[in-house]
């Protein structure tokens, strides 16, 4: 499959719209929307004319990022890039979803550069805002909150992705074609291991006594009782309520 320059550009826009810090879709529909490969991949599929394939590949690429968390602005990876550019290249190269994952993961790693760049550059605009504040000029402050940062971000998001999508397809097809079976297996292993990172970072963010105990409970309810996530979330909700209620009841007695 060929990717036209216009399609490549649209994919760049999708990536930009999903990045944390773009206001146009709200944080909710960007960071926990387009930024997730499940959504980003499907939209890229639409752009490339096959939403169903985009959805399948996006969903697969999303697997290692299922418990991805970005708390307080620290991020070890960039699922947004993995989901958009990753899906695009995978579709262009016509590979299976399992192989798509091994294209996407390195992209996710590379993507952190974009994140760090924008989080750093924005510091400049804050200082301009400081001056506006000192003068009591709220309009200027609000202008600098939105436009300069967004222009910068649009540039650093859209340009690389457009280029990557337009020129990358061929390169990726070549690399994949020459990759030994072993390496693909090894990359699948990597894909299976990576969700552990999101989960562990999440756990660290919770960071309370007894956390690991409840973690283990959820883990083995899946392993031995084979419950789906939603069922465990329900039971976890009940347990959380009961435990907290009994604990607090004792505290105040």
């Amino acid at each position: 499959m060929e990717i036209s320059l216009f399609q490549a550009f649209l994919i760049g826009v999708v990536y930009y719209l999903g990045e944390v810090g773009t206001p146009w879709l709200t944080l909710l529909f960007s960071f926990t929307g387009l930024y997730r490969p499940l959504i980003g991949g499907t939209i890229v599929g639409f752009i490339l004319g096959d939403p169903v394939q985009g959805c399948i590949i996006g969903a697969t690429i999303n697997l290692p990022y299922i418990a991805f968390i970005n708390a307080g602005g620290t991020s070890p990876s960039n699922p947004g890039l993995a989901g958009t550019l990753g899906t695009a290249l995978a579709m262009a190269a016509g590979v299976s979803p399992a192989v798509a994952i091994s294209i996407a993961i390195p992209l996710g790693l590379l993507g952190t550069i974009i994140w760090i760049a924008h989080m750093s550059i924005d510091v400049i605009f804050v200082h301009v805002c400081d001056k506006a504040a000192a003068e009591g000029d709220i309009n200027r402050l609000c202008f600098w909150h939105v436009w300069p940062p967004q222009i910068v971000m649009a540039i650093i998001c859209i340009i690389p992705v457009t280029i990557g999508a337009f020129y990358g397809a061929g390169a990726v097809t070549d690399i994949i074609a020459n990759m030994p079976e072993r390496v693909l297996t090894a990359l699948t292993v990597v894909g299976g291991v990576l969700p552990a990172l999101g989960i562990a970072m999440n756990l660290r963010a919770i960071n309370r006594e007894g956390t690991l105990l409840f973690f283990v409970t959820g883990f083995f309810l899946v392993q031995y009782v084979n419950l789906p996530i939603i069922a465990i979330a329900i039971f976890a909700g009940v347990i959380a309520y009961v435990y907290t209620k009994l604990f607090m009841n004792a505290e105040e007695a």
């Binding site: 968390i69 708390a71 605009f125 805002c129 292993v189 552990a196 970072m201 959820g218 976890a236």
Partner: protein
């Protein structure tokens, strides 16, 4: 809120100064400005500081629009470092709006009081909010959405997005308005009492258990290695690991990762790199697969 403020300002100044009353509409406008623009200038130095001011603009203009000095103070007050989870943390904004309203009408509310509320609550609500939103709800809905989407069912992404949107926006809106209603008085109840502690405890249990389930469902580590001792064949995965404890390797991997992050205090990127190299190598060697 309104009556209360009036009483206070009336008593204090002795003279009946024109009272500035906020509409619910102003509060709602601020909510939507925040919902869209909270992170528009997100950065390493002050994080959501300018986002907060951007959101509060309609409120600040109404309260201090004809008082440049007060406006300056207000802007400088809010240029301070601020960061919280934007949906659950909206309660802080609601409270801040209520406090600014009272202050503008002469109540003796200091900059320190407003800062105290912001810095005191932003941490706990980042914790609770991230646990519930990014840490629990998003992964659950993703698990549902991915399981459909991976089969090519477009309901997967659709359901994910619709459910997430409805749930989170409803929560965020009500929490924000609640914050405004309880105001700075209610805050003491929330901060001092057991409510906040209960919410944090409950959220962490819910989150931890869900993460356990995710770990069991989505971390896949198996060892295809078979030991040959003479004619005796020993398949490590089925005859040892599974026999002892189902999911031993994924659990070990997750705990190992947690250990590196928490006890070794490694950065996420370092651990990601380590995991990548390790998994790749073991995969190449045929030990994992």
């Amino acid at each position: 809120m309104v009556e209360n403020t009036q009483a206070i300002s009336g008593e204090e100044n002795g003279v009946t100064k024109k009272k500035i009353v906020l509409d619910r509409k102003d509060v709602k406008r601020a909510f939507w400005r925040w919902t869209f623009f909270s992170h528009a200038n997100y950065n390493y130095e002050r994080l959501q500081a300018t986002g907060l001011i951007y959101a509060l603009k309609p409120v600040l203009v109404k309260l201090y629009g004809d008082n440049p000095e007060a406006m300056k103070e207000a802007l400088q007050r809010h240029m301070a470092f601020f960061n919280t989870e934007p949906h659950f943390g909206g309660v802080i904004h609601g409270i801040v709006i209520a406090m600014e309203e009272e202050k503008a009408n002469g109540a003796p509310i200091t900059t320190e009081a407003i800062n105290g509320v912001k810095t005191g609550l932003m941490g706990p609500f980042a914790g609770v909010g991230d646990t519930l939103w990014q840490g629990t709800l998003v992964p659950i809905l993703l698990a549902i959405g991915i399981s459909l989407g991976i089969q090519g069912n477009l309901m997967g992404p659709l359901l994910y997005m619709v459910l997430l949107g409805v749930i989170m926006l409803t929560l965020a809106y009500n929490i924000w308005m609640k914050g405004y209603e309880v105001g700075s008085m209610g805050i003491q109840k929330i901060m001092g009492g057991k409510m906040l502690k209960s919410i944090i405890m409950g959220a962490s249990i819910l989150g931890a258990m869900t993460l356990g389930a995710l770990s069991a469902s989505f971390v896949t580590v198996t060892c295809p290695y078979v030991i040959n001792i003479g004619e005796f064949q020993l398949a490590l995965q089925t005859q040892v690991f599974d026999a002892i404890l189902k999911g031993m390797l994924p659990l070990g991997t997750t705990f190992g990762t947690y250990y590196l992050l928490k006890k070794k205090k490694m950065k996420g990127t370092t651990v990601l790199f380590l995991l990548f190299v390790l998994a790749f190598t073991l995969g190449m060697l045929g030990i994992l697969g």
